[in-house]
């Protein structure tokens, strides 16, 4: 078991390969803990200013950080972001490492925090979604092709129905409904009383409703 795999599982000290007995466990455990000890020793040397140990430590940390980030659900190129943020934080926080304690829990805490930060940033940013037929499948907001023809037919039917009304009712419907005049204005224009206009208007509406509904039923059949 590699150090990165052990770190990925989060149980370095209890790392145990599958199908292994207690004898087979020993080398893996001692390898993992010796790896951790060497990381700890490198960090201690880095605290004292040893650049070569520090370079080796950071290089060794890269695959471990990647594995830890993956275990937190980070995927793709964002793993690189987590690796770089974690390396920067290691550099910034190197004084806080206590060589008397194991190295990997220290590294894991930093990596998990940086992974969470990167995941949060990613969720705030707008993302491209892969959907190749989205453009073709999108419903058009514009009216349907036959909309204008239907509209023209409906208008013609209304004009014909109004034309067939008796003159008093037609006058009322034209002034009050189509030209949207008030009862007072229509009364002044036509010389009829408001009550007469109202009566004619309601009779006209009733007649129109009857004639238009019958013509619609006729056209449907």
């Amino acid at each position: 078991m590699s150090l990165a795999q052990a770190a990925h599982s989060g149980r370095l000290r209890q790392a145990r390969p599958a199908n292994s007995g207690s004898i087979a466990t020993m080398p893996a455990r001692s390898m993992a803990s010796s790896g951790e000890e060497s990381l700890s020793a490198s960090m201690q040397a880095a605290q004292n200013g040893d650049a070569a140990s520090y370079r080796a430590l950071l290089r060794d940390c890269v695959p471990i950080i990647s594995a830890m980030a993956r275990s937190k659900g980070v995927q793709g190129t964002t793993i690189d972001d987590v690796v770089q943020d974690t390396l920067l934080t290691i550099h910034r926080a190197r004084a806080s490492y206590d060589p008397a304690r194991p190295f990997l829990p220290w590294l894991r805490a930093i990596t998990h925090r940086r992974a969470i930060d990167v995941l949060r940033q990613g969720s705030r940013r707008p993302r491209e979604v892969h959907d190749p037929i989205a453009y073709e499948a999108r419903a058009d907001d514009a009216p349907l092709p036959g909309h204008d023809l239907d509209d023209r037919d409906r208008r013609r039917a209304v004009v014909q129905a109004v034309a067939h009304l008796p003159p008093g009712q037609r006058e009322a419907i034209e002034h009050i409904a189509l030209r949207e005049l008030s009862l007072d204005e229509a009364s002044l224009l036509t010389g009829r009383t408001k009550i007469a206009l109202k009566v004619n208007f309601h009779r006209a509406l009733k007649a129109l409703r009857a004639s238009l509904s019958s013509s619609k039923e006729g056209s449907d059949v």
């Binding site: 890269v62 550099h91 190197r94 806080s96 930093i110 940033q121």
Partner: protein, 230 residues
Amino acid sequence: MSDPASHERLVEELTRSLAPIRRLPGPGWRAFAWVSAVLGLGALLLPLSDAAALQARLGVPDLRYAALGAMLTSGAAAFAAFQSSVPGRSRAWALLPIPPLVLWLGVSGLGCLRARLAPASNLAETGEMRGCFVFLMAVSLPLSVLLVMMLRRACPLNPSLTAALGGLAVAAAAAALLVPFHPHDATATDLAVHLVAVLIVVGLNGLLGGRFLEGTIGRRSAARAADADP
């Protein structure tokens, strides 16, 4: 997917800027240093207090235990704050100040019953309470600045939690330092004033201190995201 070249560049960059660094003392030592600073401030202020009145007040069990609770809360919260500022330490340390906090607030709350049990007690007036509030705020400020400066030296991965624990440490320390200057016994309004002051100090530390502490950690991906945004 991985970009080894850019990792290698960063490793080289960090290695170039490597300098020997003094290891941070453990959280216990750092908490001890801060508590010592608090005690030093208390020693400076002590000559200004009324020693006889202080002795009389400390003779009353609930006032004595409230002062003890505040001191223990301050120390425990400072220790927890320093623990939380080191990566890899258990977050359960944040619970450490709760028992002394319960003692402090509980005993202070019991003290409020004094008005009913002993009507002759010396109770607070509005002007005195304003004085307490100003004292708590004035003492909290330098202690907060000192604590945040000390916490910044580590690497607080949860800046808001660390700063809130620091705020509790500061507020409890200020309340403990107030004891020698407190001219009256506890009442409900008095406790409320103290609680408001504590909450203000904890809240301000959580908000401002958290930002100060967050600024200590360099994050390259955040800078990249900011550059990418139009």
